[in-house]
Symmetry: C2
């Protein structure tokens, strides 16, 4: 599992001198669960990101970007054609974006 996100929130938590047991309840989970999330052993739910950025006084967009990047990475890691696929996907994204506007 990709884990730029987990590494970052651990970093932020330590910067704020917060303990797992202090943060976990705010996310409505127990300490082991948050520990696993920070180490990328368990997935984070999208809707938990704003809560986390609030608690850790971090930029919501930064965390969301890292989280998305992790999801993308999980799809293409181990794939020889990762870069090609990324190009195709990017084209699709920009096409759809244009069509909406």
């Amino acid at each position: 599992m990709a884990n730029q996100f987990g590494v970052r929130i651990r970093q932020l938590r330590e910067q704020q001198n917060l303990l797992l047991r202090q943060v976990a309840p705010l996310l409505k989970m127990d300490t082991p669960m948050l520990s696993k999330i920070e180490r990328g052993e368990r997935p984070v739910k999208r809707e938990q990101i704003p809560v986390l950025s609030e608690i850790l006084k971090a930029d919501k967009n930064e965390l969301l970007t890292l989280w998305l990047a992790d999801q993308i990475y999980d799809v293409v890691k181990d794939e020889k054609l990762a870069n090609e696929a990324m190009q195709v996907a990017e084209k699709t994204i920009n096409l759809k974006k244009r069509n909406k506007k």
Copy 2:
């Protein structure tokens, strides 16, 4: 569900003048299932791609790339930060690639 892949294999199948009922059994599925796959209503398994490219006489890499692009797109569609996330993910991919070599 993203579906560049499905559209492409339908195109290929029709080019070869093959019917759903001819192709489906080769993939060990029934006709409705393949129909749904082609219309993006059901997911395709990674391991079915080589089989499909064999049947449809298509380039394995082309199909795999489309399939991966669909997976990526599913992750970031509806996300404002799609492009940023793609950039971060791409960086990670290339970093890891370098580390392996």
